[in-house]
Amino acid sequence: MSNNPFAVSSPEMMDAAEILRLFVPLAESFETGAPGHVFIHGHRGCGKSMMLRQMTPDCMMLSSGKSLVELPYLGLYATIKSTDLDLSDFERIHNQYAGLVLAEHTLSLFVASKALQSLSEHMGESLNNEAAKQAIEKTCSQFVIKKLKSVGGVFSVSADLKSTQDVLRQSIKAIDEVYGVISSYIRNIGLTETYTPYTGPLVSYRDFLFPFLCELTQMECMPKRKPVYLLLDDADNLSRIQTQVLNNWVSFRTGNKVSFKITTQRGYKTWRTTTKQLIETPHDFNEVDISTIYTGKHSKTAYPKWVADIVNRRLKEHGIQVSVQEFFPPDVEQENEIKDMANMRIKNWEKEGKGYRPGDDAYRYARPDYIKGLGAKQMRTYSYAGFEQLVHISSGIVRYFLDNAAAMYGEEMKLRLADNSKNKVVELDHLSPDIQDQVVRANADKLFFGALDKLERDAAEDQGGTSAQHFKQLRNLIQALGGMFQLILLSERSERRVFSIALSDNPPEDVMNILELGVRHGYLYEAAIGTKDGRGRTRRFVMTRRLSPLFKLDPTGFSGYLFVTTQLLETAILNPTRAVNDFENGRLGTVVENAQLPLEFQS
């Protein structure tokens, strides 16, 4: 186990007890537990893999106290790594029929092997008995060993298998051997223009994987006649043609027997099948986006509580017996001054108050007043330390909080060890506000300058000038939005804590493409709100709070929207300075306070 309590673990490597100790369920229960295919989208680090992993039997048995046979489904976990299946060598045949057949073959074998591996690792002790061994041996013999032999697979088989694990290992080995044939084949095809036909064994979903999976829940030792859920993690790592094959499988609508629960990092390559048919929701599958759940109705209290639960569990796991607020203390001097300002607002509410209650004004204006009071030169001294601010800055993605916390912990430990002349064991019970502040500031700079530069150059090289131009425009848009939000914060407006824009008309496709690019790369989050006239709904885009330090914004607040026109957006993506100036001069954009709508991250 790492010494850093905030180090991020891959759920693949964690046992059920650890998952249970560290996993805090999401605030919203999606339909992932119900039969049917589901795509779960989300940025890296928002909890997708943990969500899938805790659907495997060992975790479910431990959390529910039920036995394997009582579970509502059999969850089999399979993670897909970057170059597991998406190999450069396949490019040689990707346009040929052989490419399609081999994609089906490799994906079927890959998933079957992973499913058996999951049976071996994620069932606890449930299958370690003679009855289970015999049942599984029979199923594996018929649906794996005999099937693979019948298509020409060459592998050795032992008649003397002593345990369920032996049985599973033998089938895994058989699949891996057959998979090895295709591996050997592709080793040379990429290097020669001369087509070499594949002459090895071939299997497919319908004749091999699906019958095998269906048979699993026909056994007495399994959740009988319940569906099998294939929990496919990181399907973005499939090649285009493999993705099309997976879409074929989804299109079969076998959800009552075999359901796919597939996670993506928003980079799923296509929604078309190999016959170019589109798979669609809700016809073929449901989809959820878990990166945005905490920017909506759960943002107010559920997300901070979720993060606090996760952090608490990690602190306890490492023997640190302090509260999250104590571990991530704010800059006390700054917070005291803000409190004084809040008290002043409460005191003067009857004479000068703008809100319905004294507390409204205190909450809404004290922090912006403090930031404003620092003046342009001192604004950089505003501290972003403190658990509450850090939660807001993580923008609904827990990995962002943990990554920042891990970096802070590392820095703090380094400092303490350097000062530790007596070589005592260093135990941290808090992270200094200065280090917290430095880390989030550095990451904001990196996000805006480093990551966007990278994306822009990447696009320039890979996709031609048009796409690179899109990233430039996205950078302009973010810069303009940050600038406008800062102006609002420093203004005398009644609502100063604005982090999102709502569309007051229908922008053309090129503008929408830039907004969607921002969503895809985590700079913006998308939601919907009521229109100004209350007659319908419109799209709302929230800027990530990870950029708060860059634009000197108050990350804790949100209680208004900037209603923007296409004209403002078009100006912003071409000339951010002009957009900010025009906004400052009252020519573009309207700030709207809408108390009926959920207030993001308001505590």
Partner: protein, 353 residues
């Protein structure tokens, strides 16, 4: 045979002349260091050039063409397409090697990308070339010449991480991933590879301080490695074991044997190696993966290189005979050394103190 020698003395290795010289045009002056110092002109020169290369590379190509008089063939490579790269290599070697007279083939590995060099090795293997092949590598005297130590950079961004064509490995789907990164100066690319793969086991191979190419960039190297270590500290999971060991950056055979030993001791994992140090160590990794087909090689393509100050060439080259048949056994493999306190001597990616 492996030797480090002054560029000016390279001719000594070719008493019967050079039948075919193969080189890669680049924005680095290092791309013509070897060719420029050969006193006897090769019978023919096969010069590869990236299609999308810029003005500096074009200037260097003109210089190299001038050096070879008319004894050259220039072949364009598409850096974004490994398949077309392999085809270009195969066609060029088919025509030029067959046409070449008896004698040695001299491949200047210095400025090929790691991926191109590895594909070239596989094409050589498949073609069954019978000529004696000598490979050369010119080290860098200095890196990132246009920055101070704090702002050192060689490349930025990662356009794509992909398996290297011809080295898909022979994976077992049931096994977990062991990622071996042969780290060099390019911290961002190494970090991106680790993040992308999320390996169950990670080994960082660092240059052996006892086998350095140059001792002149210690501060730069130390700075780089600190950055990488910081990243690893942050990224490693509670279950991921991160190990470090040395690999030779100056001897491809030792590099090969180190990788082979590590991979063979690791049958419970699928092994992916990502070579990011010297081209010599990359040749070693390539030989290991040719010998052991279980090993996959991955490549992280950079978005941008520090074209104006990547490096300045050394006056020395490392040369070795490339064993086409890969029949060399790995007898006498040295125990893998664990990093301790290294000497000042080091090269790209060597673990600093």
């Amino acid at each position: 045979m492996i030797e480090k020698m002054p560029l000016l003395e390279l001719d000594k290795l070719f008493p019967d002349g050079i039948a075919l010289f193969i080189g890669m045009v680049s924005f680095e002056d290092r791309c013509f260091s070897i060719l420029e110092n050969l006193k006897t002109l090769p019978v023919h020169c096969l010069l590869f050039k990236n299609l999308a290369s810029g003005a500096i590379a074009q200037k260097n190509l003109d210089h190299m063409i001038g050096l070879t008089i008319e004894r050259n063939t220039v072949v364009d490579l598409d850096i974004s397409s490994p398949i077309t790269t392999a085809d270009a290599f195969a066609r060029a070697l088919a025509s030029e090697v067959i046409a070449s007279s008896a004698g040695a083939i001299f491949i200047d590995t210095t400025t090929f990308t790691h991926e191109q060099l590895l594909i070239l090795l596989r094409i050589i293997e498949l073609r069954g070339i019978e000529h004696k092949i000598i490979m050369g590598y010119t080290g860098a005297e200095t890196y990132s010449t246009n920055t101070d130590v704090e702002h050192v950079w060689l490349s930025r961004g990662v356009a794509q991480i992909r398996s290297v064509l011809g080295y898909p490995g022979r994976f077992s789907p049931s096994k977990r991933l062991h990622l071996i990164v042969v780290v060099g100066f390019e911290h961002e690319r190494a970090a991106a590879v680790i993040e992308q793969f999320e390996p169950a086991r990670l080994t960082l191979m660092c240059g052996d301080p006892e086998q350095s190419v140059s001792s002149s960039h210690y501060a730069t190297n130390k700075r780089f490695f600190e950055k990488l270590q910081n990243f690893v500290e942050r990224a490693k999971s509670t279950q991921t074991s991160v190990e470090t060991c040395y690999i030779s950056c100056v001897n491809p055979f030792e590099a090969r044997d180190t990788v082979l030993k590590l991979a063979s001791a690791d049958e419970g994992y699928n092994v992916v190696v990502c070579p990011m140090n010297t081209k010599i160590s990359t040749v070693g990794v390539g030989m290991a993966a040719i010998q052991n087909g279980q090993i996959q090689i991955a490549y992280a393509r950079a978005i941008e290189y520090n074209e104006n100050g990547y490096s300045t060439p050394s006056t020395m080259a490392t040369v070795f005979e490339y064993p086409v048949a890969h029949r060399e056994c790995i007898n006498g493999v040295k125990a893998i050394k664990q990093p301790s306190v290294p000497s000042v001597e080091h090269d790209a990616g060597n673990l600093p103190a």
